[in-house]
């Protein structure tokens, strides 16, 4: 994280390029920074088929969903309430998109990568970019663990089942 923060914000980079390409080396920085504008599309071309379907992030194996685990769903609801509900509702648009049908629209792996690695998703993944263009608000990295993200998926499954 330290190195990410030390880099030049993308917006500033864009401004510098507008000013006339002043980069003298070292400016080929990726400009990764969650609070600034969208970045160029070069990186997108490198996405693998897995990344297109399951997102870019720490989850690199497909997460198989078994039978609904109510205990895990309950733990996921607690995480959701604290770290997600300030911006997401299940049935309606709020700061971010409604998530009631998230598990029917995206793979569990994709959802977990979006939660765990939002900055890179916004920079490189076309679906995440499209969401940003629609909602104009970055989803923050809420420092969720992979286990917690998995539990959130389980909670969202209960919502998709119409039980919420």
């Amino acid at each position: 994280m330290a190195t990410t923060r030390a880099r030049t914000p993308a917006g500033v980079m864009a401004l510098l390029f507008l000013l006339g390409g002043v980069a003298c080396g070292g400016a080929a920085d990726d400009g990764a920074n969650g609070s600034n504008g969208a970045t160029g599309g070069d990186a997108e071309a490198e996405l693998t088929a897995f990344q297109v379907e399951h997102g870019i992030g720490p989850i690199t194996e497909i997460v198989e969903l078994g039978d609904l685990d109510p205990e895990m769903a309950e733990a996921g609801e607690a995480v959701f309430t604290t770290k997600c509900s300030a911006c997401h509702k299940l049935a309606e648009r709020y700061v971010g998109p409604p998530l009631g049908d998230a598990t029917t629209q995206r793979s569990a792996t994709y959802i977990m990568n979006m939660i765990l690695n939002p900055k890179e998703m916004y920079e490189r993944h076309p679906e995440a970019k499209a969401l940003l263009a629609e909602y104009l608000s970055f989803m923050p990295d809420q420092n969720v663990t992979p286990e917690e993200a998995r539990a959130v998926v389980e909670y969202l499954r209960t919502a998709a089942d119409g039980s919420d």
């Binding site: 609070s35 509900s85 809420q142």
Partner: protein, 649 residues
């Protein structure tokens, strides 16, 4: 008018110039005739400095955090003074940190930053800093850069010789610079010689950093000025300079400069511990405050009532006086722990005492007298050498670990480098101007990083663009890796940088706290999710349990407030990402804003005085929709029947 026009055009010219510089600034070319120096201090954008450099804020009461070699200012850590920028000492959670036995004190005079040590080496856990005016010591955590504890020192006045630590941070010390009736009493000032005393205080530091005033040593009424502790062979001893052995109580500049020699007090604190354990101390009723954060990250202030006081006459072998010319200021112990250097402010030499000879003189009872049960050793028996021609007004000495000492000379405004073997001056370099302390990274430890010395200057006169009558103080970075010292950089400092210490950044970079986890937030008024956000009236107090996340507050519409209510805005930042604080301010609040770190809860009290609808908003730019981050609070007349109401998610 003319002036402002000129200013604007000047700025425009400057901007154009800056653009031009951007265009041509790619060749790595040098600036003027000092290109070599420029490259030595150049830290490319996005790169880190090699050292953290902590400066005393002096009369700002705070602690400055800079990088070396760049001289860039990163932060001012609020310590002893209120700091409206982040609400320190204004918000409900930190006010108690500035409580003292005299009540709430909103300002302090910080002096000497001192990094914690283990085995005589900087360990990167904490930095301590003393307050001179209302005697206190603060501890700053080096994982959060936040002041986490402040302890008041009773029975003292002018806490200058502080907060120097022992080799393993067993203790941080304090001492009386302005002797006073001890305990305080209504006596004639002319009774100074009979009634006034000094106190050397030892504050125990436990493994978690928690401070506890372990014992105080009652000493003659001189001015105890600076201190350093022994290390290696001299571990277990602490040394305090004193001046005004004349015991003058008026016009000290003349009357306290009569004697050829004053004293360095050598304190065997391990011996003091034995006397305390053997019940040879007295318990004094003394009130003082001990302030610290509780588990909910809210400052509490404990009223303390007792201290243990030991007198040298009842604890033989605890304190000795080392005669030292003349009105000594600094006392510094070399990396081997065998030499004790006195900064004889008015002396023509730098006296260097030998710890071994001191022990021999004590063993042989080679005394020339005694004051209040404190034996005075014979100067000639303990001195290891005198540095001749050390500049005028030698004050402080630091060490490079390569066999050399560097002493600041205030009056001749220079740093003098001398050999610890021959006691001969080998180099000198001017300081601009009026150097006080100087600082080498790790320069008071067993293993200094002997790369730079920084001169800490009291005046700058013509060195910078002038800013009216009040000018900045400054630091000057000097390369000490070669035979000749080499000035690299001037940079301005905040307040007065009395003393400063530095450590290798690599020691603490990886331990930086980025967020406070929400599941560890135990604040009683926290709202840990939007579902918890609410407003509750309790008599004339109204508690707003408010959440904030990019980019809204919840609730953001509040009604039912009345003129004269105390409205407590308890704002919890639900962000769990680094570098996303949110701010909070409301019209007419008679206090500062809040700045709330991720996962933290902070409270602003607003007492509305007028009927109306008042906006509140986020003060710290947080996202693209920061300008939308606002809300309204409706204030009705006192006794109104408008009910408490607020929006929910």
């Amino acid at each position: 008018m003319t002036r402002s026009t000129r200013f604007v055009s000047g700025v425009l010219t400057g901007l154009l110039g800056a653009v031009a510089l951007v265009w041509v600034g790619c060749g790595g070319s040098t600036v003027g005739g000092t290109g070599d120096a420029a490259s030595a201090v150049y830290v490319p954008p996005g790169e880190y400095d090699e050292f953290y450099f902590f400066t005393s804020g002096g009369f700002s009461g705070q602690l400055g955090v800079y990088g070396l070699p760049s001289g860039r200012l990163f932060r001012q850590v609020p310590v002893f003074s209120q700091w409206a920028e982040n609400g320190w000492g204004y918000n409900e959670e930190t006010k108690a940190m500035l409580e003292t036995s005299y009540g709430f004190v909103p300002w302090g005079d910080s002096h000497h930053p001192e990094l914690s040590q283990t085995d005589g080496l900087v360990d990167g856990r904490w930095i301590f800093i003393n307050e001179n005016n209302t005697p206190r010591i603060a501890r700053i955590d080096l994982s959060t850069f936040e002041t986490v504890e402040i302890i008041e020192i009773p029975n003292s006045a002018g806490n200058h010789a502080s907060p120097f630590v022992t080799q393993n941070t067993e203790y941080t010390v304090a001492a009386t610079r302005f002797s006073v009736p001890t305990p305080q009493a209504d006596v004639s000032i002319d009774s100074y010689a009979e009634e006034f005393s000094g106190m050397l205080s030892f504050v125990k530091v436990d493994d978690n950093g928690r401070m506890n005033l372990a014992f105080q040593i009652l000493v003659p009424g001189y001015n105890y000025d600076l201190s350093h502790s022994g290390k290696g062979p001299s571990h277990g001893w602490s040394f305090f300079t004193s001046y005004n052995s004349e015991q003058a109580n008026t016009l000290l500049e003349v009357n306290a400069s009569q004697n050829d020699k004053d004293y360095i007090a050598a304190v065997n604190w391990m011996r003091a511990e034995e006397c305390v354990a053997a019940d040879q101390g007295e318990t004094w009723q003394s009130t003082y405050r001990h302030n610290y954060f509780n588990d909910a990250h809210i400052a509490v202030s404990d009223q303390m009532t007792n201290v243990t006081v030991v007198t040298p006459a009842t604890c033989e072998g605890m304190v000795y006086f080392l005669p030292t010319p003349k009105s000594p200021h600094g006392v510094d112990v070399d990396p081997t722990g065998t030499l004790i250097v006195g900064g004889g402010k008015l002396a023509t030499v730098i006296p260097v005492h030998s710890f071994d000879k001191m022990l021999q003189a004590i063993e042989g009872e080679d005394f020339i007298g005694e004051v209040d049960g404190i034996p005075i050793l014979r100067y000639e028996s303990i001195v290891a050498g005198e540095v001749e021609n050390p500049g005028l007004g030698p004050l402080h000495t630091e060490f490079d670990g390569q066999g050399y000492a560097y002493t600041s000379a205030f009056i001749s405004s220079e740093i003098v480098k001398w050999s610890l073997e021959t006691f001969e001056v080998v180099d000198r370099i001017p300081a601009y101007y009026s150097i006080g302390h100087l600082s080498i990274p790790g320069g008071d430890t067993r293993e200094p990083w002997g790369k730079y010395v920084v001169a800490l200057n009291k005046t700058t006169k013509d060195r910078y663009l002038p800013t009216g009558p009040e000018l900045t103080h400054s630091a000057q970075l000097i390369d000490i890796t070669g035979d000749k010292m080499r000035l690299l950089l001037d940079f301005p400092t905040v307040g007065e940088p009395h003393y400063a210490q530095a450590l290798a950044a690599s020691l603490i970079v990886d331990q930086q706290v980025q967020i406070y986890p929400l599941d560890e937030n135990h604040h009683p008024y926290a709202a840990l999710s939007e579902a918890d956000a609410r407003v509750e009236r309790d008599g004339r107090n109204v508690h707003v349990y408010m959440t904030t996340i990019r980019t809204h507050f919840m609730p953001d519409n509040i009604e039912g407030l009345q003129v004269g209510d105390s409205v407590f805005f308890h704002v919890t930042n639900l962000e769990q990402d680094w570098d996303v604080p949110h701010g909070f301010a409301v019209t007419g609040a008679n206090t500062s804003e809040l700045l709330v770190m991720p996962g933290e809860t902070r409270t602003l009290v607003w007492v509305p005085t007028r009927v109306g609808v008042y906006p509140f908003y986020c003060t710290d730019f947080c996202s693209a929709l920061h300008q939308e981050m606002q809300g309204y609070a409706r204030v009705s007349p006192r006794g109104s029947n408008v009910p408490i109401a607020y929006n929910t998610p």
